[in-house]
Point group: C2
Chain length 464, copies 2
């Protein structure tokens, strides 16, 4: 069952909460009730904040309220940092008082056995009385970097998004996704740790993000769910509007048992899952780096209109490891037109190099201008749909970052850069390239995933 | 054919050259003859340096000699930054004047067709007259960080090694390996860009590194070779003494053609190659990150004595992605003894958590001391051969790095750390862990590769 339009709107009000109550606020820095408050402050949340505690008067410079009832407004969101039993009561009270949604961080529900399972049923019933939008339980919470709302117990300012939103069954893997996004010079718009999904299911979050304007790429990490059909239906609906990426872990026999204990969910076979992804137009990834690389390229590049790749490099070996990566993802190379070959022959006159795709321009020199000129010949070729430009770190070689931005704008074709280092010059080039819509990868493995992701999204759009 | 003991010694004198001549030194910063000189200086080479040029008197503060003949000593190594024709002449002269070895950077040999092929035969003949140890041609050169010798045209101080030496067919991929090693807080001892291998073959470098005391792990990147049998024989000999890792690219149809043009070498099928690796005790890797992760763990960890893995975490999801990675590499988990289970039950009394391997200690709290206590129970279990400890970044949680070092020393079992971030705290923890022999990985993917590499090396040693 999918959320009604009204409930999607309600969830949107929760994600964009104008006011937040924190039940279970505390002055013990090692406790979640303290860290959630730290997070709201570190994230620079601008809405109204109401810590709740029966005795404290002030916490981290904020006035503390003795109970939910005594907060002077009806808050949009409650963060519940109480134990599992008290969480159920708090959820009921939140609903009765008109709160729209709640984050329940407590564990100790279905993931710990029969007793927890019964308690989780109570939680569901309590929330159901008023359709309270419950995130969790057993969750880190959520981020909405669009409004600087860090509703997790990881105090930090979340890195700003570029259209990527993340739904993660696991808080830890969700955090790993944030770390890798940050390493890639990116952030996320919305981020949800789905936890036990007592009320809100993966499919609900997917339906919501499909509607969310700030979200242009939906990223999912899951371990398993009994509601696979609902999830795939929602992904299929969303994939008609924006790319949907999924990494499902726990495929191995070794991992399966742990995944079941962690989330209490069953796992279908990898083959069944992959077939379902293909059928519903969902793009699969096999690891966090693959997931993030695909999301990165999809969020930065314009939509691909063709899949013939032209590659330019000044370092031959890495172009071969890139080709291996592209081949694994069923990508193909452009064949340069005879006209391009003639123009390249004129340009490379007397230079001992075999002219082909990938084009190794090393013998032509290392100036950004020269690199730009050769790249333009590849870009101008009507057989080339995508230009990939590779650069190996060298103290004396400047990457033609600005030239690549000009080419992209002039020819209206996507450009993907592979600058093989995270160090010297990497950040400087990334800051020129990425805001201009050219993803800059630091390895051929990640670059190949990125390109493959965009090609897969194009194939989904074309119904292939 | 393998190098005689005398020639291996000669190559060792080249790699550890006490004096270097640079033929083709120049004052044009964009030229290789200048960059090689920059590299020798940037690397802080301490031996005697003799730039050679017919007219210049001084370059970068160094006295320039008009010819090789006028250098006041017989140098161990000549770096030849001349075009392909002049390179052949220079090689002959070097040999005649008693130079032991030469790096030939020029391209334009067999990789550009028939004419180049003929010239390369001349080069081989010229070197053969005196058994000059020629590295290249068509190479970046080599590093020996043990003596601060940067004999490449990439000016920098090479990151110091921890027993890892690298042989790369491609300079660009070889550079990528250095970049990833640096990202992992490591460096390399010897590093050779093998180039066209006119004189020195992969097998020669492998034989040499097998003898080299500073080298404890041999890392190869290749695209293809006609001398696959010689390579595998050499790797087999070396693997009896130290781990040998290989990443072969160009396996895909897409890449094969490019690999042939790049190196003029043929490629056998992936299946044949993998079978050969198994037969000869060589550890395969499928990418640069996998290659470096395996080398990292092998260079830092003590040799594994068993393969039963005990995992401790405070973040469940990542332990599942780790298990997927381990399963892919055919690793297995330890089963805790009943005694350990009893001790854990006492410790976790009343805490709602399922006690199993991987052990999720989150509910027990996040203090380094508490983490250390739980980890010790896992480490002390006689069924556990390897302890893997996972940590997700959190502002308020300190990783138990020092506790892990103590455990490793007390129980004499290998420890592998997975600290899931490259940012906050990552460097600080790495600097405690890695010098103490605990590799610290920033993702579960790289951690799984590292663990798998050590297990594969153990299986090679045990003849499995």
């Amino acid at each position: 069952m999918s959320l009604s339009k009204e409930l999607i709107q309600k969830l949107d009000q929760v994600m964009n909460a104008r006011s937040v109550a924190l039940l279970g606020a505390t002055d013990s820095p090692e406790r979640v009730g303290y860290q959630l408050l730290e997070s709201l402050i570190a994230g620079k949340y601008g809405g109204n904040l109401y810590p709740v505690h029966p005795r404290h008067k002030e916490l981290l410079g904020l006035k503390v309220y003795p109970s939910l009832a005594e907060i002077p407004e009806t808050v949009d969101l409650a963060l519940i940092a109480l134990n599992q039993q008290k969480t159920v009561e708090a959820v009921r009270e939140c609903g009765q008082r008109g709160v729209k949604g709640a984050v329940c961080v407590a564990g100790g529900f279905k993931e710990v056995g029969a007793e927890g399972k019964a308690l989780e049923k109570e939680l569901a019933a309590a929330a159901g009385e008023t359709d309270l939008m419950v995130i969790g339980p057993n969750t880190l919470g959520f981020f909405n970097s669009d409004i600087n709302l860090n509703a997790t117990f990881y105090p930090e300012q979340p890195p700003k998004g570029n259209g990527i939103s993340v739904i993660s069954q696991s808080g830890g893997v969700g955090r790993a996704i944030i770390e890798v996004l940050r390493d890639e010079g990116l952030g996320m718009n919305k981020w949800v740790g789905a936890g036990n999904r007592t009320v809100l299911e993966f499919s609900d979050y997917v339906d919501y993000l499909a509607e969310d304007k700030a979200t242009r790429v939906i990223v999912l990490f899951i371990e398993g769910t009994e509601k696979g059909r609902e999830l795939m239906d929602a992904c299929g609906r969303a994939a008609k509007r924006k790319p949907v990426l999924i990494y499902r872990a726990g495929n191995s026999e070794l991992a399966k048992q742990s995944a079941v204990t962690h989330t209490g969910s069953m796992i279908s076979s990898p083959k069944l899952f992959s077939d379902a992804c293909k059928q519903f137009g969902v793009i699969e990834a096999g690891s966090v780096p693959e997931l993030v690389s695909k999301a990165k390229a999809l969020s930065l590049c314009p939509p691909f209109k063709g899949e013939r790749i032209g590659i330019m490099t000044h370092t031959a070996g890495p172009s071969i490891t890139l080709l291996d990566g592209l081949a694994a993802a069923d990508c193909r190379l452009a064949e340069f037109t005879p006209q391009t070959m003639v123009r390249l022959q004129e340009m490379f006159h007397g230079v001992p190099v075999i002219l082909k795709n990938p084009l190794d321009a090393a013998a032509f020199g290392y100036s950004p201008e020269g690199y730009g000129q050769v790249a333009e010949m590849v870009m101008a070729d009507p057989n080339v749909d995508i230009l990939v430009v590779m650069h190996a770190l060298h103290k004396n070689w400047k990457f033609a970052a600005r030239e690549m931005v000009k080419l992209k704008d002039k020819y209206k074709k996507p450009v993907v850069a592979c600058y093989i280092s995270t160090q010297v010059g990497a950040e400087e080039n990334r800051q020129i390239l990425q805001p201009a819509g050219i993803p800059c990868f630091s390895s051929t493995e990640t670059a190949a995933w990125g390109i493959a992701g965009c090609i897969e999204a194009m194939r989904v759009n074309h119904g292939r």
